[in-house]
């Protein structure tokens, strides 16, 4: 885990003081809401349907138990006793009072946390693989690179008024658990002749025009990284569209001028930027990397006792192999049947913090699928961890199954939404509540967005649901065939939309078609890709 030094701490502390001053000026009436808006948005504070919502950054989704407990404390003290983990590995609080906001941030700063750049047209929180440091297939831990980028992007003077928001993901495995190519910039760490560098993808994204990022550079060396990314951003800042908010993301620029021309412009800018000396020495990456050294693994490689069938199901579904013998990766599902995807109570957050401290080398991760991970748990402790999770209603064995739904907050909270997402997620999970049935369906990533902005990642769902407003009535469109993984693809709309119950029925029919047509161990998406839309369409509309 990265630890702040006095430089990092002084920057975060200064930000708290600055924001306190801005809030005070707003409360005193010295600035209008219009003038305050860009300031609060730079700090993750949104005015939603019912109250202020504050988004707190969890850099690359990594935190320790002390930080996790602070998130519980904030939920208890400043919100209604719960928090909402988001698809960008952050946490949101939905019921924040403006006059308490600075105090909240001050408390966060005591555990090296902040809300800097969690909104606004700037470089947002850097996301990463939730299995970083634990995955057997990684070439290196991607988080030191993410931390290097976090520091570089924090209060970047040139890139704080970009045409639109900007999201960067860093992974280091061929298996993509972070939807890397659906980011404005996606980096995949690779080795070339033993040297670590980054494959750079630019111009992916979801929203109303979903696009998969093309590769712009096959290998950028560590000591060129910041210059190269700076060049990528400068070309975007200068030439990204500003005439139409819906065409302002970098994906539109890359698409309109073409990947080859964008690559050429970046290369030209890089040749210049590289002369400016903006790259830190490799010693800085080494300094950061030291914080992410593997913990002292020492557990014997023992297989857990599978005699309790509920425990065995959880092991099979939620526990993943670790690169270190004797250890495992534990996924904690925040998707109870009928619950709100990604929500956790203060008490649950505390339980997860305690388990991380007692059994998990003090580390937790937030996933883009809105779940929590304990990345390093000794296999001998798995049963104890499971029992504690079960007592806290956190042992749902549904990772990557149809009820492990990603959903945006939707019209229940969000001022941009056209339709509710949460009730649809709840109804689908309830319809498929039977665990045997879910497990029989296997991996099926279902993702729901309550508007075209696609915060619920519906484009990347094996089954995606998009809520729209049709003449004042909520209507749900279905898409099939999306994926945010290494087999990245954008889902296609299958036909006319449905009402809330209709879309639940349609999803059920699609699963029946899949069960009839699947071959071998095909997943839903494999069958869909093989047979195409027709049989599904026939069953649903026929």
């Amino acid at each position: 885990m990265y630890k702040y030094d006095h430089f990092d701490q002084s920057i975060v502390d200064a930000r708290v003081a600055e924001f306190r001053d801005q809030v005070n000026r707003r409360i005193a009436g010295e600035i209008t809401e219009d003038q305050f808006k860009p300031l609060r948005l730079m700090n993750g504070l949104y005015l939603q349907l019912h109250a202020y919502m504050l988004r707190v950054a969890i850099p690359y989704g990594t935190l320790d138990s002390r930080q996790m407990r602070m998130l519980a404390h904030i939920a208890r003290k400043y919100d209604r006793d719960y928090g909402h983990f988001t698809t960008r590995q952050n946490i949101q609080y939905n019921w924040i009072k403006l006059e308490e906001c600075a105090d909240l941030l001050e408390e966060l700063a005591t555990v090296e946390m902040h809300a800097i750049q969690t909104s606004g047209n700037c470089i947002r929180n850097i996301s990463s693989d939730q299995y970083a440091g634990a995955a057997a297939d990684e070439v290196a831990d991607p988080r030191p690179w993410a931390e290097l980028l976090r520091q570089w992007s924090t209060f970047h003077p040139e890139f704080s008024y970009l045409p639109r928001k900007f999201k960067i993901a860093v992974i280091a495995s061929p298996e993509d658990r972070a939807a890397m190519r659906l980011h404005d910039i996606g980096l995949e760490l690779v080795r070339q002749n033993g040297e670590l560098g980054a494959r750079v993808f630019v111009g992916g994204g979801m929203g109303r025009t979903p696009m998969i990022a093309p590769e712009i550079n096959p290998f950028v060396k560590a000591d060129d990284l910041l210059s190269y990314i700076e060049a990528c951003l400068r070309v975007y800042n200068r030439y990204g569209r500003r005439d139409n908010i819906y065409k302002a993301r970098i994906k539109i620029l890359v698409h309109e001028i073409g990947a080859d021309e964008y690559r050429r412009q970046v290369a030209e800018e890089f040749a210049h930027v590289k002369t400016l000396g903006i790259d830190p020495p490799l010693a800085e990456l080494e300094r950061i990397s030291a914080f992410f050294a593997p913990p002292a693994f020492d557990a014997a490689d023992v297989e857990p006792d599978r005699s309790d069938p509920d425990f065995a199901v959880w092991l099979d579904q939620n526990v993943k192999p670790h690169k270190q013998a004797g250890y495992a990766i534990v996924n904690i599902s925040l998707k109870p049947i009928g619950g709100i995807p990604g929500d956790a109570t203060s008490a649950q957050i505390d339980v997860m913090a305690d388990l991380a401290e007692q059994y998990g080398f003090d580390e937790l991760r937030v996933t883009h699928a809105q779940n929590i991970v304990l990345p390093h748990v000794a296999k001998r402790d798995l049963h104890a961890v499971w029992q504690a999770l079960r007592e806290a209603d956190l042992a749902h064995a549904n990772l990557d199954l149809i009820s492990d739904i990603i959903a945006c907050p939707g019209l229940d909270y969000c001022s941009l939404a056209n339709a509710r997402s949460i009730p649809v997620a709840q109804k689908i999970a309830t319809r498929f509540a039977d665990m045997d049935r879910q497990r029989d369906l296997g991996e099926l990533k279902l993702k729901i967005s309550g508007c075209i902005n696609a915060c619920g990642h519906h484009h990347a769902g094996h089954i995606g649901i998009l809520g729209v407003d049709r003449k004042g009535v909520e209507n749900y469109q279905l898409t099939f065939g999306g994926s945010g993984a290494e087999d990245v693809s954008i889902g296609k709309i299958i036909g006319p939309g449905f009402d809330e119950d209709g879309v639940v029925d349609a999803v059920e029919k699609a699963t029946e078609v899949y069960k009839t047509l699947r071959e071998g161990d095909e997943r839903f998406i494999d069958t869909y890709r093989r047979v195409g839309l027709e049989p599904f369409k026939e069953a649903i509309y026929g």
């Binding site: 430089f7 002084s10 300031l39 209060f155 970047h156 040139e158 008024y161």
Partner: protein, 140 residues
């Protein structure tokens, strides 16, 4: 009107001309860049310019930040002025990008500007100002 100036030399009296006009006639010493002008077009002429004014018609349009850095990176040492929708909370970023004078459309409170400029004393990245980035302070 220039409200804040962080230079000691004389203010240029000559009114600034558009980039197109400058490239046509060219004996002007002051030029004004709109957001979609290419700052690099001025690079051959930097040593005879004493003022470059960069327009910010809307504070949200951040192209002027890149224009400023490009000019400073090319060695421009004359006055670099931000004009237009310039707000107090942007001045620190603008200073880091190389602006050294400010002509905000709506007058700014000098105390608030002074406070904004002194809020941060550490910076993560190297920019167009003289501040040493944190990584430099860490590693010498």
């Amino acid at each position: 009107m220039v409200e804040f100036r962080y230079r000691t030399d004389e203010v240029t009296e000559q009114p600034s001309v558009t980039l197109d006009a400058f490239l046509d006639q060219s004996n002007a010493t002051a030029v004004r860049l709109e957001p979609d002008d290419d700052a690099r077009a001025l690079i051959p002429f930097l040593d005879r310019l004493t003022l470059i004014e960069v327009a910010f018609p809307k504070y949200r349009d951040g192209r002027g930040y890149s224009s400023a850095r490009i000019l400073r990176e090319a060695g421009y040492t004359g006055e670099l002025r931000a004009q237009g929708d310039v707000l107090v909370d942007q001045i620190a970023f603008m200073r880091r990008c190389g602006f050294d004078s400010f002509a905000p459309e709506a007058s700014l409170n000098p105390e608030a500007v002074a406070r904004a400029l002194s809020t941060y004393d550490q910076f993560y990245q190297k920019a167009a100002d003289s501040a040493a980035p944190v990584w430099k302070l860490r590693h010498g």
